[in-house]
């Protein structure tokens, strides 16, 4: 089985790499510190098994699985015991290992992976298809993914990329905040900081110079605060 490791922690990758050498049926072809690099790799390379961390910055393990159509077998490797139930909602997940991994536990996971039957369809990035007209498309690895505007919580600029956080998924796109600002409806979205655009309908609360949207605390610059306050239906 061709396998890859996706984990932002070098120590975790090193340990898993070493443990994989104990299994002649496994061939480690690459390791990745983030899911974005792995997605690019999966566009041109077939993989049978992925050792996947859940907690990674920007793009979680679950975001990663959801972005794949016909995902290969996945063994989750995490320090978090709390996602076990969520994990088994995904057909592709064959086991769930809690760090630090022991040989005994990994043995069981590999046995499950060996016994697990998968479709032979190649892995590809899943396009999201919905009927709503209020959407825009993002280009991820030459695939256009549709995003409903109303589902966007925040957009954050990070270097040459923007991070789009929606209600259910996060996306990293090579673009600028200015470009997406021009696409988004002005009555719904507001630039509150040089690095952030927010969906004003998603504000949970406002405190001093920040707003809370979902679990994210977003800074509000002094210059943008008056416009934000204007948008609120204050008592």
């Amino acid at each position: 089985m061709n396998c890859i490791i996706i984990d932002d922690e070098e120590m975790a990758r090193a340990i898993m790499t070493q443990m994989i050498t104990l299994y002649p049926e496994l061939k480690l072809i690459q390791e990745f510190p983030n899911a974005i690099q792995a997605i690019k790799f999966l566009n041109h390379t077939e993989v049978d098994l992925i050792f996947l961390d859940i907690h990674m910055p920007d793009f979680t393990g679950f975001d990663f699985i959801q972005s794949l159509k016909n995902p290969p077998k996945v063994i989750l490797v995490t320090s978090d015991k709390n996602f076990a139930i969520d994990a088994f909602e995904y057909e592709c997940i064959v086991d769930y290992l809690v760090k630090p991994i022991t040989e005994e536990r990994l043995n069981k996971a590999i046995q499950k992976a060996n016994a697990y039957k998968t479709t032979s369809k190649p892995t590809e990035i899943k396009p999201i298809v919905e009927d709503n007209a209020n959407e825009f498309y993002i280009n991820i690895d030459r695939r256009l993914i549709k995003i409903e505007m109303a589902s966007v919580n925040i957009v954050e600029a990070k270097g040459d990329y923007i991070h789009i956080k929606t209600e259910s998924k996060n996306y990293v796109v090579h673009s600028t905040l200015k470009k997406i600002e021009d696409k988004l409806p002005k009555d719904l979205f507001l630039k509150v900081h040089r690095s952030f655009i927010i969906n004003t309908k998603k504000i949970i609360d406002i405190e001093d110079n920040s707003v809370l949207i979902a679990k994210d605390v977003i800074p509000v610059s002094r210059a943008n605060r008056p416009e934000l306050m204007k948008r609120l239906n204050l008592l």
Binding site: A12, A14, M19, H55, S79, D80, K99, P100
Partner: protein
Amino acid sequence: MEQPNLTYIDELSGDNLEFKTKLIGILKKELPNEIKGYSEEMATTNFSEAAQSVHKLKHKISILGLEKSYYIAEEYEINLKNNSTNLNADFENILKIMQEFVNRL
């Protein structure tokens, strides 16, 4: 206070000294960076990001055999997610002990 140990790394490495050296090298490099990230997030009271850092540090805590400390970290991570810094002093003491141990390796 429980003390860190290399039992897990030794078990994993067996007689593969090269691998053991590699893991210790990564530990020496990665631990201070993770602690720095955590400290910066705490300094800016970015508790949700700090919770993510604590989450990541939990793996190092368990690798160094700190079983009781792991549970403190687990609870502290939940506290931070709820905007509470309860257990802060205990957790930061664990970080100090780990860093001192790693410095001696």
